[in-house]
């Protein structure tokens, strides 16, 4: 009897562990990972095409000795950040600070339609004007 209970418990534990592991590694089929590098205050790749409603996981590496940002959004959102005063980002999807030498990630789901003016950009002082921005269009 005791052996039977022990075996059942072991099976249950294994099943639970397997379930948890599956949940942890499972990623929806439609999540694409885009690796973005910042070097000499420039984004690489310099532009991006997405599918309507696509969810993209951005992995952003900053090779520079200065801090940067990676902010995804439409023209209105970019303007708010260009004139804004938020020192750090990370609380909202698609908006993240990238400290010098760091690699960070953020996941963002795009709407089904994109008006002109969607970009990824850095709005630290004078970075946007320097060219730290790239257009996002529908593929």
């Amino acid at each position: 009897m005791r052996r039977g209970v022990a075996a059942a418990a072991a099976c249950a534990t294994l099943l639970l562990a397997a379930g948890l592991a599956a949940a942890a590694t499972a990623t929806p089929d439609h999540v694409r990972t885009v690796t973005m590098t910042i070097h000499y205050s420039r984004f690489d790749p310099a532009s991006l095409q997405v599918e309507p409603g696509e969810t993209v996981r951005f992995v952003v590496t900053n090779t520079d000795p200065i801090d940067h940002e990676f902010l995804v959004g439409d023209a209105a959102m970019q303007e708010i950040h260009e004139n804004g005063t938020e020192a750090h980002h990370g609380a909202r999807p698609g908006e993240i600070s990238v400290l010098a030498g760091a690699t960070v990630e953020t996941t963002f789901t795009f709407p089904s339609t994109l008006a002109p003016g969607w970009e990824f950009a850095c709005h630290l002082p004078s970075h946007y004007d320097f060219g730290m921005r790239g257009p996002i269009t529908l593929g």
Binding site: S41, T63, P65
Partner: protein
């Protein structure tokens, strides 16, 4: 030359180098300073680079204007490790300005006229009046990290510009303005602090590209660069010949001539100026009035008489090693083989002649 008279010439000389700031509050209004919002005060900068017996004497002046919260600073790339950093002559830079821009004659002036690694390595620290100076050795990332960690504001083009310099000479001079000390010393707003950097180097150059740091491509960079050398120098890039148009743009070589006795006497009579050689020197004046986008190199100097300024020192990319022409190599091979055959034939003939005898 009377020091007071020179001071009245009121030539404002400012940082001839990168200028960085540590906080938004200190903002612009400083000569050559870069504000976090990209606004820049467009003030002409003045520099003297004197080269004598393998030692470069680099003189520049740091000044500030407006309300400062104590976190102003700059970073200057250097061609070598300095042996000392001291306060420069009180009015050497102003005297040089007068040499090339004679003031409007007045009674008073007429009289006066008659007269690296992962982390940056700290190599040296010095205090010159209200300036705290640190000499660093390290790559672009290491020096950039050091600057950021020490409160310097680096504009977005800084990573590339620091790499441009670190690839040739990983020596940088970080200068921080100490507002409290300036107030205690009674430094007046806009008053410059001359700094004299002594750098033994076989290959002198003057940083120019750094002047465009943080500037918009269309911004006009204005600087006066004076050279004193043992003989007439060759430079790279070469200065343009002046056209007489005061708005002429580019690096214009306004003067290239033996330094006048009055200039040399005046410079030697300034305080802390015993380093100026007693012999004759060649005087060169370069006026820089050019858009930031065109200031892409430094000024390499060859005062040795050989006339070959180093392109690498000017920041040009190393010349590509020419790839040998395969046809030329084959021709050389055939030529060598031919010579060997002729030599063998000649030897055979000599041996034959010897046996016949």
């Amino acid at each position: 030359m009377h020091a007071r008279t020179v001071a009245r010439a009121a030539v404002v000389s400012v940082v001839a180098a990168i200028v960085l700031m540590g906080s938004a509050a200190s903002a612009f209004a400083c000569g050559g300073l870069i504000a976090p919002n990209g606004t820049i005060s467009l003030t002409r900068t003045t520099t003297l680079a004197a080269y004598h017996r393998g030692v470069e004497h680099y003189l520049t002046s740091f000044s500030y204007a407006g309300k400062v919260d104590g976190s102003l600073g700059s970073i200057t790339p250097l061609p070598g490790v300095p042996t000392k950093i001291i306060k420069g002559g009180d009015w050497t830079l102003q005297r040089l300005e007068i040499e090339v821009q004679p003031p409007i004659p007045s009674a008073e002036f007429a009289v006066a006229g008659a007269a690296v690694a992962e982390d940056a390595v700290v190599l040296m620290r010095a205090k010159v009046d209200s300036l705290d100076i640190t000499v660093l050795q390290g790559g672009a990332v290491a020096v950039g990290n050091w600057a950021r960690e020490h409160g310097f504001f680096l504009p977005p083009d800084a990573p590339e510009v620091l790499a441009f310099y670190a690839d040739r000479s990983p020596i940088f001079m970080a200068t921080r303005f100490n507002a409290k000390r300036a107030a205690a010393q009674g430094l007046a707003e806009g008053e410059g602090t001359p700094v004299h950097v002594v750098i033994p180097t076989p290959n002198p150059w003057v940083p120019l590209r750094i002047l465009a740091l943080g500037r918009q491509p269309q911004d006009l960079i204005q600087a006066d660069v004076f050279l004193l050398t043992d003989r007439k120098p060759e430079m790279l890039p070469q200065g343009l010949a002046p056209t007489g148009n005061p708005d002429q743009q580019g690096i214009v070589q306004e003067r290239s001539e033996p330094a006048s006795a009055s200039l040399m006497n005046d410079l030697r009579s300034d305080s802390r100026s015993k380093w100026i050689p007693n012999g004759e020197m060649w005087f060169t004046y370069l006026r820089i009035d050019a858009p930031a986008s065109t200031i892409t190199h430094d000024l390499a100097i060859d005062a040795s008489g050989f006339g070959h300024p180093d392109p690498i020192a000017a920041g040009f990319p190393p010349a590509s090693i020419p790839v040998p022409d395969p046809n030329a190599a084959r021709s050389l091979l055939w030529l060598g083989a031919g010579i060997a055959l002729v030599a063998l034939f000649a030897r055979w003939r000599i041996q034959q002649a010897a046996t016949t005898r």
